[in-house]
Amino acid sequence: MEYYLQLVINGLVVGSIYALVALGFVVIYKATKVVNFAQGELVMVGAYACFSLTVEMQLPFLLSFLMTLGFSVVLGLAIERLVLRPMIGEPIISVVMVTIGLSSILKSLVQMFWGTQIQVYPQVLPQEPYFVMGVPVAPVYIAAFVLSALLFAIFSVFFKYSRLGVAMRATALDQCAAASMGIGIKSIFALSWCIAAVVSSVGGVILGNINGINAQLGHLGLKVFPAVILGGLDSLLGAALGGIVIGVLENVCDGAAKQLLGLGGFKEVAAFIVLVIILMVKPYGFFGTKQIERV
């Protein structure tokens, strides 16, 4: 039993990171209808940026974390300005292709500068485990979960109540009508890339603290797909829930397969099996927008 409880807790933590990255994905999808295949690479770049600042430049962790956030804002703006803006008005499939290209470029750049070896973050949190329901949990796990929850709360409030957040939702629904309100569509696009880059890099930094980082970190982006599709592609709450569910499911399935069937590596596929089932049963996901049809 404790074995499974441990798996669930691990799943919650990994899931909260998926949820964060999914948040970035959803924000971009909502605002611009672009499926961003470079989301995982944004995680990776953020993680490496923070790594560079803490390890190579010997800055205190908190400072380098804040600087990473700043760097992500700039990165998001730069990507939007240089890569996405020239594509405005092009067919959406071309834009999606461009994000695939972008993911290759980001990945190659990271490998060019930092190599492909696993890099380890210094321990910033104490090692002493806390006990949750009798199960030992590393403080970094708890911090990861709390930080993700906090970011989610902030963005929920932002989208619900702030003027800019409401404007972003309006833009997602009807760009032309939003433009007629005097909402600057281009700055909304830029803002959504900024948000995506920031939450992804937070996810990357947390992952780095847990597992260390390597150039394969970008594959996390793939795991986020089942999460957002489960949640419904354009729902923040869906992203949160989808991320958590996928995280827990893949850990528990993996553990069960190992223990009961003696099979390893189930972790990699569990999420995608779930994905296929969801698409068959509930194609809009938990909270995906269904078209309002007045009769």
């Binding site: 003027r163 309006a170 629904l173 009508a177 005097g182 309002i292 007045r294």
Partner: protein
Amino acid sequence: MDMLRVENLEVVYNEVVLVLKGLSLTAAAGQITALLGANGAGKSTTLKAISGLLAGENGKITEGAVLLEDRPVHGLPPDKIVRSGIFQVMEGRRVFEDLTVEENLRCGAFTRPRAELVPSLERVYDYFPRLAERRKQLAGFMSGGEQQMLAIGRAMMARPKLLLLDEPSLGLAPLLVEDIFTIIKRLNANEGVTILLVEQNARAALNIASHGYIMENGRIVLEGEAQAMLQNPDVQEFYLGMSHGGEKKRYRDVKHYRRRKRWLG
């Protein structure tokens, strides 16, 4: 005094299709000006050229000028144009369906200072008590008439000097059309906002307007005082659907395109 002057405007779509062919019109400050015409005459294009929303449809102003209080606004991005005081209520209402009524209204106030928000909301709810009842409801679930009220209310939130209305009567029952036009008239009388009204419903539009224009094929073909236009035999025949003398029309007379041709010059 003219609030809006459009001078010799030419608009091209997709770099090939010439939609407006040297269109000029003015809208007097504090008045309602009606812009009428058949489908495809270029009425909506005219409004979008004024409000800067052409770019989203691959349209471009190739010649001419749009002047708001004698300052050129053509070529500015739409958000700058809204800030300068022009607000367009688009055809088909275009409310944000998955936002609540109040959130829709807040979007209208995007360019205004925060302190104005609450008084602006109260003013809109004053005009449209129905919206106040439904402030928390999703806009997509409202009836067509309520959505049109919301679209107009959203425009009021921006406190424009010049309001462009594109077919506010579209898809509404006759009784509701009357309501909407009464509201437009009231808005103009109480708030002093200048209105440029594009309509298919020529009679309703000319009844509340002080001045009218008729467009065909990307040009103005007729203009005048609204009351005079209502009496104009051509307007009566082509846009108000009246026949003269009460005698039954023969098919030959119905084929009025020969007379229309004269206008196209």
